[in-house]
Symmetry: D2
Subunit: 189 residues, 4 copies
């Protein structure tokens, strides 16, 4: 199953959603396979969760989200896409993460200001060779990520992704920017 | 007088406005000086016109715009910024351009699908060494510009400018992209 | 098998290579599955070919490339990554494409100035619902793509992807831009 | 006098140079006028210094640079562009800044890892309403800037500028990215 579900396929509501291209790159950086156990922290609409669940068919996705409207969207998307390997956890991470099994990958789309605490907890759950992938939207999150992984001595890579979509307006293709996202990928050595 | 009036200083209404950073680069690429005669085609709110007028204190700016709401905004901005070297022309270019004097610079922010005809007319009005600077928002405008200047043998430069502004949200600085703009600058040789 | 082989894993030589993030997005846009028949036109080092071959395990990849140094690199990468479903064709497309079977996806990384002719030939080989994905590096290729698909009435999507990688220099993470790439994806309806 | 000297006009050597478009935006954000007193910290080749000197004809530019090769380039560019209002200071800032007069603007292109100390010293030299403009190339410099100005309570604005230049290769215009630069502008209130 290939990643890359179109944005409009997801049930969305008012909750912000990771855009398709960022989702694709995030999932590829996480190197999810058939058997992966994955945590999706700040799961939002569940778009990352759904795509991860279709990749890790013999694994499991833990979707952690504190917002109850978002939880409902995740439920509806899980149903729409008929994935049966998702466990939805309504909690403000790092709450709710203590009892996780060993994980192959962690994807963090939102951290509610608790990024370091979340990393402290999840860093111990990740297998050797497993990956943490963070989507940062702010200077502070980007900076916190790189300094954190430097401090704990994990190997990391940081990129900025700037996608512009062309919108058709009569005979023209007009450039419409999406907000840039920083993707930080760290590997447990 | 330095360029770089803040966007919120202009009276704006619903008319799209060239953003500050694009305005600054466009004006610098046009190399306007104290004595310049400048045409601003598709003048919109008049933000480029106003900044050009403050640079070309001994010159003149011809602001051409077909939309009557925009014309009113240009009038109000001319008044607000107390510039007295602007002539406002309500016309759909290339109409209204025939009687222009010799020009030092032309800035084209909008062409209503008539870009080549506008360039045909204005190309003959530009002094040797004078410049045409076009802000392109679509693939078609960018492509038309580079092919046009290739065809007529003018020297040109094309750049893409992608500005992201950081918006303060509590203690965070969040990346918010502006749409990318292509700036094509051609010099009459 | 997840996409996203690191750039340095490929044997490269002096031939330009599609960078990892562009490769990931291109493959996802092509929606390759286990059984896909895929043509990779202007295959270069074969990096797209290799990743496609690992996805389409029950399908086949036709790698078309005119440069003999690049052909040798593709051969060596096919060997290194132990993929056995790649057919390498040394030809300047559209030469060499006539006898292709029906295809699920076409990826065009280079066209040697023959893009429209290549599209003319391959457009007839693509299944209903199949996709053509083009990586454009120039204004002319981008423009040709969108005008071509408009003309033949296929549904298409165009995006610009601008990746910046952060390079570690002592305690700093320094922004290093990759060149932007336009990815045009058209679906045969 | 308009800003926007072409990059190739400057004598450059091996010293990294702020590119034209970044220079233009930096100078505009600094709001330099005829009478401005300006410090250019980490002046490099002197390209910012030269353009500032041509704007502040009745003012003065202090170019601070620790690298002796760069100092020589600044000297040669000052001579080439015949500006007579530049004082070159060979020092590793914050050394050499103590005896500065009151300044209208400070531009920081390089800080040798001493950014906060430099800001501590120069913050006291800036007039009310004066501006500090910093070009950041790394996550750490960007982060340090925004946190510093938050801490001392100055109003600031941060943008990211990503310029792509199109290079002519036969009949094509090929996209070539420059590295993105963050420009942080703070105003003393």
């Amino acid at each position: 199953m290939m990643i890359g579900i179109a944005d409009e396929e997801f049930i969305r509501g008012q909750v912000p959603m990771t855009k398709q291209e960022i989702r694709i790159l995030t999932l590829a950086k996480a190197q999810i396979n058939f058997n992966s156990f994955v945590a999706d922290i700040g799961a939002g609409t569940g778009s990352i969760t759904i795509e991860a669940a279709r990749l890790a068919v013999n694994g499991k996705i833990f979707a952690v989200e504190k917002n109850s409207d978002a939880i409902e969207l995740i439920r509806r998307n899980v149903e729409k896409f008929s994935v049966n390997n998702v466990e939805i956890i309504c909690a403000a991470a790092p709450d709710g993460l203590e009892n996780f099994p060993e994980l192959d990958a962690v994807i963090i789309g939102g951290s509610g200001g608790q990024l370091e605490k979340i990393l402290d907890v999840l860093g111990t759950k990740i297998k050797i060779g497993g990956r943490i992938v963070i989507n940062a939207l702010t200077v502070q999150t980007l900076s916190t990520c790189v300094e954190y992984f430097k401090k704990i001595g994990w190997n990391y890579e940081a990129i900025q992704v700037q996608i512009t979509r062309f919108q058709k307006i009569s005979r023209y293709d007009m450039a419409k920017a999406l907000n840039p996202v920083w993707i930080v990928t760290a590997t447990r050595s």
